[in-house]
Symmetry: D2
Subunit: 330 residues, 4 copies
């Protein structure tokens, strides 16, 4: 489904090499100040062009199509649109014959009976995360009391990021990395039983970001190495703050007054210049494939701002839902 969110809801459309990419947000309260320049900082953090990211330079100029009047949100659905400009579709003609390993080329063709727009991955492209960044900018305004920060922890297990990326570029290969996200100052009580725990909703959105392979909250997988008495976070004051934060700020799926913290694994970019032996469906045999075109050596570099965005989206929806839970006649 291209639609997410119960109150703050975000619909995404577009393709990598079609007319463009867009996003419609409904349920955004009226009266929030919003100018085009508000998107600049986060869009530029997502942007390609840096070392390790694709040389495709998109101007990434958002246009406001609806929902904003005199620089304020109106309460009506808000649409932002990015026209595609620098797309070179001829680079992608071969993917129908020989799907790129690690990409959606093969499954997209099967799923949509060959009618999918295969150019640059079409609707499966990482370019769609532009829409998430836009939604994130607006969501951050709704949860302005929360401080959200995401950053790369490691690339291919290392912290000398420049060096490992140079190595990858030199080998015409790619690398993945770990990205952590933290959100401070969330009130107690956001998150919804039974299904819509904080972790459920954030992981749902996180796995919509291409290339995410795993997610863990708090101490995550390492919790299985501790005794319960070591893992439990002892409450130290009446605010609910805890001595440790192994739970990552969430108890029973609900925010618990401590910093929300989680980490995702980003796989190495699937598109690599290096030769790969994989099925050629036209010829019915395995054949070397060399992927031309422009690629990121490390897509993880572009993930932090997107992870902040989906976190803000989740929190904005939780915050608005939370408003419905006060006693009705008070």
């Amino acid at each position: 489904m291209n639609h997410w969110g119960r109150i703050f809801s975000v619909s995404i459309f577009g393709e990598s090499h079609g007319a463009g990419v867009g996003v419609t947000i409904s349920g955004c309260p009226a009266g929030i100040s919003l100018k085009l320049k508000d998107f600049e900082a986060d869009l530029s953090r997502r942007k390609s062009g840096a070392k390790g990211t694709t040389p495709r330079i998109e101007s990434d100029k958002p246009q406001l199509l609806s929902g904003v009047f005199e620089d304020k949100t109106t309460g009506a659905p808000l649409t932002v649109w990015f026209e595609n400009r620098d797309s070179k579709s001829k680079d992608y003609a071969t993917v129908i014959k020989q799907p790129r390993p690690g990409h959606a080329d093969f499954v997209a063709k099967q799923k949509f009976a060959g009618f999918n727009d295969y150019r640059g991955g079409g609707h499966f492209s990482g370019r769609l995360t532009l829409a998430l960044v836009v939604a994130g900018v607006i969501a951050k305004k709704i949860v302005s009391e929360v401080e959200i920060d995401a950053f790369i922890e490691s690339i291919k297990g290392r912290t000398d990021f420049d060096e490992i990326i140079e190595e990858a570029l030199a080998k015409q290969d790619s690398v993945g990395g770990l990205v952590r996200c933290e959100a401070k100052n969330i009130p107690v009580g956001w998150g919804e039983p039974f299904y819509d725990s904080i972790e459920s909703v954030i992981s749902h959105l996180a796995f919509a970001i291409p290339a995410i392979k795993g997610i863990e909250f708090g101490n995550g997988f390492s919790c299985t190495e501790l005794w319960g008495s070591e893992h439990n976070d002892l409450i130290i004051n009446e605010k609910g703050e805890t001595e440790t934060n192994n739970s990552g700020g969430v108890s029973g799926g609900i925010t618990n007054a401590n910093t929300l913290t989680f980490k995702v694994a980003v796989k190495p970019t699937s598109s690599i210049g290096k030769e790969q032996n994989t099925m050629n469906f036209e010829e019915g045999r395995i054949k070397p494939l060399i992927i031309k075109g422009r690629h990121d050596a490390c897509i993880a570099l572009r993930v932090p701002v997107v992870l902040e965005a989906i976190t803000a989206m989740a929190l904005a929806d939780f915050k608005l839902i939370r408003k419905t839970q006060t006693q009705p006649n008070k």
Copy 2:
């Protein structure tokens, strides 16, 4: 929200020490054979009573309240109900004064302004997973071509399960573990862009299971240690089968003809007999807490069947949605 699923949809209600726990499934096709005994095998896998699980013995007898007629599903909403019998509520009276570390006691009280049913965790209890197991039994019938299997990989990093649980019991402490789930024989093309990737929906449901702290698909977090050329799964035949299965059976969020495989981290049971120093809200100071009552030393032991259930739920919904995507006039 207590409601999940677009077509095969599952609503959950109930409390640990209230009248019981129930589940309503809508969107289940008519004509599926269903008898009470069909639930027995999976319910008994979930059951407490074994070493390492709580000595509370629930009879766990499901009752069919609606949606089944002459041992077949009718197409109308199907409700299954478990009456609570062996609940000892007096054990739980102290949790309002001194919330148990690692539990939802504190957040539930805050979220619901003190009106929550706190007995045994109320609606936050692991007992609610009964409802998931029931939904899983029915979902498995809908995706009967798929073979789903979940199992414990390790407990506290070890594979001598009995020994480590004995240790935990002796120390009045608890342990966590890793549980893997595999689903074989899924057709290509299940899963939905943009938001409802296979990973998104499965992780959403997985994190609704109490005590899950992390999830990873395929090689998961270890993908960040590989070069792209090592991580990419090369396609070896026209079915889409790949040489390796680092992706865990999913490309671009869509099933890709290989085995779906993922792993979750289950934290050590929060309730432990061992003394813990934590906030007593009645007295306004940190105080030793000894949790009485009956607890699992290792809740992970009961997770595999629940993980199979949520996997089957996700796949059943994806399969039914997939039926809407054929060309309409064929």
Copy 3:
């Protein structure tokens, strides 16, 4: 779908002659006082047994299965269950051979490939409106500032209700009627563009009530006989009150400070004692049908309380959604 509502959401399950009828409400705020006796007044208004309604006497005793603790709502899903007691299934065995005109017998069999529970209409029975009445009682508590009142305007175009029903009973025939519903004191601004206008949501729910054939708001169909200058409601004060209320309290789908008023047409009860010539599918020919069993001569008599219920449900959901629209940081 058996599920309605974005925040105040109501799931319905059950059959006329199965184990019973139930309803699960999620999104109900915590802390609302709720006792079983709160349901009595509205349940008794819906009850059969009066002249013109079926002689089937159901005790209609609600049981609280979840979501209430110490006579207050907990914020968790709230389930109410009615066990069926006085059902005589043998009366209905013939409906599979010769579907009753005006009933769902024929379509239910086709839709569910013959697996439907056909006894007493199964899931299509008017008995399911019990669930709506329960949801209405709770919804009325959420919108306690609003005064909702529904009443019969006419039966078979007449206002001498007893006489016309006597006539119907004497003829072993049935009659329909008009029911009006009014809701006073709704704040301005409830209702949601684009799709969820007040009229859209109320009509959606109204047509879920069996036997409703039409709905009109304000002056309704007679608006087409007026000039615009006659139909327009002139605003007479700063509260937004209007000289006339042709619009029925709604402008642009949003409540406008005037009394919400609408009317529904209830068809004559389909089940009649009188002989009808209709298809016998077993014999493949048209044959006289005499419907045995117990029937309402005028189902409209039982509609007012159900109409109030669905109005309260709609308004409760709108009120809770409205809370999310205040400026977020105020």
Copy 4:
């Protein structure tokens, strides 16, 4: 909510005098032939410019922003956009001071705390029905076996349409009308219990169309004047066809093999040239209002194609949902 539909889902955005109006459709099967010229016929039926409609001439040129590739739907979200060109915003500056009777001006301002785009009604404008017409064109392709036809039955109770409109224009007043819609050849079994009856879903969508005040199915309100024995539709053959069609093609909310038929009441256009005495909020007193600008004398003239569109939308969603109800392993 700006979002409708479970599988065939339609999101609407835009304003009358903003950048434009758009619609995003998800869940549309891949491989459906779609060219811009396919929209022409229905867009031109909706168009203004004829006698009785506003002289504002919009070119109404749709642009395909996503979801179509090589003249076929791709299965990805499909967006169509209409840029606004001929909008004269200065005409509307006074509506904030003196809301137009019968319009959403007053409620929109209250609901959105004064931040709404009030120009031309903003998001409440009838111009948004462009989006419905687009969705209808695509939906008709999905239910191509069904023949949908809507037409005006009467204007101000009369059938001499030209004359009555001339009268209205001469008086600077407006008139309403009745519009009927019929859909032939729908298979038995579309429509969903409990809430999503055919009537529920169609009325939900119909009341999203501005100016609709009532809806009735089959013989509608006149059913209350008949005996049950007169109203019941006797089944005359094994297909389920009936002697009469008082039910309008629907039994128990499900299509029953007969023609679906319903009628809506369209109120007289609210904007009239004639002077009206209504509240001026700036001056705090009732004052004459003369609405300048360009108006339809009879908005009902533009309703038939929109009514066909929402009928097709409803049927397309029902048809796709119906595909999920076959036995799963067949």
